[in-house]
Symmetry: C2
DNA sequence: GTCTATAAAAAGATAGAC
DNA sequence: GTCTATCTTTTTATAGAC
């Protein structure tokens, strides 16, 4: 497949940023075009409708999750610790795609909800060999979801209550002792 | 203070339901009026602006949290177990107000973000005496957030991966053994 | 590929009748 | 208190020039 045009990627980046920073309502085609520095007509050449724009975002998410699951499997510190630590978001492309997709899902977009369920299912499969039983698996995923949720809410607010540094070290150790 | 008029409550209920079921974008004043069976003018008598409607929802949330924190303190099974079990949502008024507020917060509404931080802070205070240390406290809150997040995403989707029944019993036991 | 111009519908809000 | 009518702005989308 050929390289995606620069303008197309700029629009998609802008749309993603609007979803993350200002929410679903603010993420209009007009605003995305302006933020990307193209005209509305220019945007509509690459994405014929709002749905096409949203679909493209979900495809970007799927590609990034592929890479993440591979990294998890080969992480030296173990899959559980890797998974929990990367659940504290630092604004990398996967973090951003996940928050954006969750904004769409909370707006009732059916494809976004399904995409997020698939992401969760892939993480579940990758983690299962590394935990004691299904309850332990549920615990790890729920702590990750909790970290994710607080990050998602805190994006534009004050620094959230997400543990970092030594507090994160201790949390990872506590969860690992419970699930191993 | 006097009883709130029936029509006012109907509009607020309808607005809340629209936020939960269809998301921020679908929760318009027009749609809320239609769903409540009043005209747009009728709605605007009770809520002079969209912001007033949103504010009323946050006040409803605050009142429901007052009651919840009281229940938590006197729960026979202990605060931690009560808190985790009630984090699996069953559609009671507090659950609904929380999801609706989170939809607003994800849309960038500043008051909603602040309201949710206050809710979390009140739960934190109520739980602190019942756990070993601050890391244990963080674990309990994160598991609750994870349960909440999955419920919030699953509202209109397929049955989410939220543990129920004996799986929930085992999860609560696992967390309690880690934090006590 | 990218633009301008424009249409059609929906959103928030005002004015005033009943 | 509740309604209809109307206005303004925004949002999605189309048409067609360059």
């Amino acid at each position: 497949m050929g390289r995606p045009p620069r303008a197309r990627e700029s629009v998609l980046d802008a749309f993603e940023r609007l979803l993350i920073d200002d929410g679903e309502r603010a993420a209009t085609m007009d605003a995305a075009a302006r933020a990307a520095g193209v005209s509305k007509g220019g945007l509509l050449y690459h994405f014929a409708s709002k749905d096409a724009l949203e679909q493209a975002l979900l495809e970007r998410l799927a590609a990034l999750v592929d890479a993440d699951v591979n990294d998890m499997a080969t992480a030296p510190e173990g899959a559980v610790a890797f998974f929990l630590r990367t659940s504290v978001m630092d604004g990398d492309p996967l973090d951003r795609a996940l928050i954006a997709a969750s904004r769409l899902a909370q707006g009732g977009h059916p494809g976004a909800g399904e995409a997020l369920r698939q992401v969760r299912s892939r993480w579940e499969q990758a983690l299962r060999p590394h935990v004691r039983d299904e309850i332990a698996l549920a615990l790890v995923l729920l702590v990750s979801d909790g970290l994710y949720f607080n990050n998602a809410l805190g994006v534009s607010g004050a620094a959230g209550p997400v543990p970092r540094g030594t507090a994160l070290d201790a949390l990872v150790a506590l969860v690992e002792s419970a699930v191993r």
